[in-house]
């Protein structure tokens, strides 16, 4: 392996900085390093509460090769376990299902409660003998990862060393506390996935900035001009963009989605779109929110998991099904319009003379803010 490239030129001010070097997008060795220093060392999104709505729901998730199990227990709490039996390491659950009683390993039937405790180790002391003095049940519960649910996204800190989620994201939670309300998922067509041939970071970078809007989303911009957007940048924390001219969708009869309760005036025509580092993209508006979890498949492939939420449930607003459908189509079109740029930037990074690029000091602050954060995580990882 070559000596890791210095990230000094990334860490300087946006006016002079270069973007992250090519290796951070195309080199599997650097990908492995970022897996640890960036994705495992921080709070990464791995799924949604809506994927396990009922008590006993369990869903296996592969996160960068780590087998995880999302579980909702009888009290409604979400747990993220290592999906690996404490006996011989069998994968416990191989497809989404509802667990009525305990999680039973399909190999030798060790049974774990929804809260992760080992409840039975059948025949462990010999046939018909379910105890053994050297097999301590209370030491053999499921391995639990620290997890946190916010805006219905399930975040996990794999290495266990990050500061608490509430602390890391205190500013953003405060900024958006008006949206800390029950969210109602829009239903089947408010959920879609896009497979994109790009490094996951390029999806973050494209999401953060409004510079591309008039070129890539001319439709969006016909009613939302560039100057109606502002940068959101918090060094070391998060970044994104906001709009001052969000317009609610209206049906043929003038019907609209109900607003979230008690919003301040700012949100009458405001919308904000923020990257929650490392891999979650959120958007909030007066009448709906969305969440995107970027699932890095490998260095050059990413799956975007997109979910749209509303202030009231589908049952409460049954007459708005057609609009939920239309809104989902609208967002899907926007996100699909971005595919060619994130895939094109990925291809461009195979040009050996590309130096990470120069930023627009006025427009690219949010992107640079993300690079600065990534570089900081990598440097921290190298220092330890």
């Amino acid at each position: 392996m070559n000596k890791p490239s210095s990230l000094e030129s990334v860490m300087t001010s946006v006016n002079r900085a270069n973007g992250l070097p090519n290796a951070h997008y195309i080199d599997p060795v650097v990908f492995a390093e970022e897996r640890q220093s960036v994705l495992f060392a921080n709070w990464s999104g791995i799924g949604f509460g809506k994927d396990i709505p009922e008590a006993g729901d369990a869903k296996p998730v592969d996160f960068l090769g780590v087998p995880l199990l999302l579980v909702r227990d009888q009290d409604g709490a979400v747990h993220v376990y290592q999906n690996t039996c404490r006996h011989r390491g069998m994968v416990l659950v191989d497809e989404p299902k509802n667990i009525r009683g305990t999680i039973r390993c399909p190999y030798h039937s060790w049974c774990y409660s929804l809260k992760g405790k080992l409840r039975a180790a059948p025949h462990v002391g010999g046939v018909g003998q379910n105890t053994h003095e050297d097999v301590k049940m209370d030491e053999l519960g499921l391995i639990t990862f620290r997890s946190h649910v916010w805006q219905d996204v399930i975040f996990v800190n794999i290495d266990g060393n990050a500061a608490p989620f509430d602390e890391v994201h205190a500013d953003l939670i405060e900024r958006w506390q008006e949206f800390d309300k029950p969210l109602y998922h829009g239903g089947i067509d408010s959920s879609f996935q896009l497979e994109v041939k790009t490094n996951w970071k390029l999806a973050v970078e494209n999401y953060c900035e409004s510079y591309h809007l008039p070129w890539v989303h001319p439709g969006l911009n016909s009613y939302s001009r560039l100057e109606d957007h502002y940068n959101i940048e918090s060094r070391g924390k998060y970044s994104g963009q906001g709009t001052l001219v969000y317009r609610q969708m209206q049906g043929a009869e003038g019907e609209v989605f109900p607003d979230f309760d008690d919003l301040s005036d700012k949100w009458d025509t405001g919308g904000e779109y923020v990257a929650v580092y490392p891999n979650v993209l959120l958007g909030v508006q007066r009448d709906h929110t969305f969440a995107i979890v970027l699932e890095p498949k490998d260095c050059e492939n990413t799956v975007e998991h997109i979910e749209i939420y509303y202030a009231k449930s589908g049952e409460q607003t049954a007459g708005l099904d057609h609009m939920r459908h239309q809104n989902a189509q609208l967002w899907k079109t926007v996100f699909e319009e971005d595919i060619f740029v994130v895939e094109g930037m990925q291809k461009g990074r195979h040009g050996p003379m590309f130096d990470g690029g120069r930023f627009s000091p006025a427009m690219d602050g949010p992107t640079h803010n993300f690079h600065h954060w990534v570089a900081t995580q990598i440097e921290t990882g190298r220092a330890t």
């Binding site: 009525r100 009683g101 305990t102 039937s109 049974c111 409840r119 059948p122 025949h123 018909g128």
Partner: protein, 93 residues
């Protein structure tokens, strides 16, 4: 399998009946019918208990107990108590 299995009928199992029980257990496994597995293994346990074969009893009790736990049915507690009485399991909380 139309016959209703009950503990009484199967308290002592004749060889041809044991074969039927075995077949029923295999069918329940194939159908992932947890409640039925609990019932059938408990029947097998009862019959072995009558014979005084403690190891076999506890083997079948264990099988029944595990599927009862998986299914989340209250009977798990009763089966667990029986195993505990034989010194063969930790009490459930």
């Amino acid at each position: 399998m139309t016959q209703e299995w009950t503990s009484e009928i199967w308290a002592t199992i004749r060889p041809e009946e044991a074969a039927a029980l075995h077949a029923a257990i295999l069918a329940a496994h194939a159908q992932h019918d947890l409640e039925r597995l609990v019932d059938l293994y408990a029947i097998a346990a009862d019959s072995k208990e009558v014979e005084g074969d403690v190891d076999a009893t506890c083997f079948f009790l264990t099988q029944a107990f595990v599927f009862a736990l998986e299914a989340g049915v209250a009977r798990a507690h009763e089966l667990n108590r029986r195993l505990v009485a034989y010194g063969r399991a930790w009490p459930l909380e």
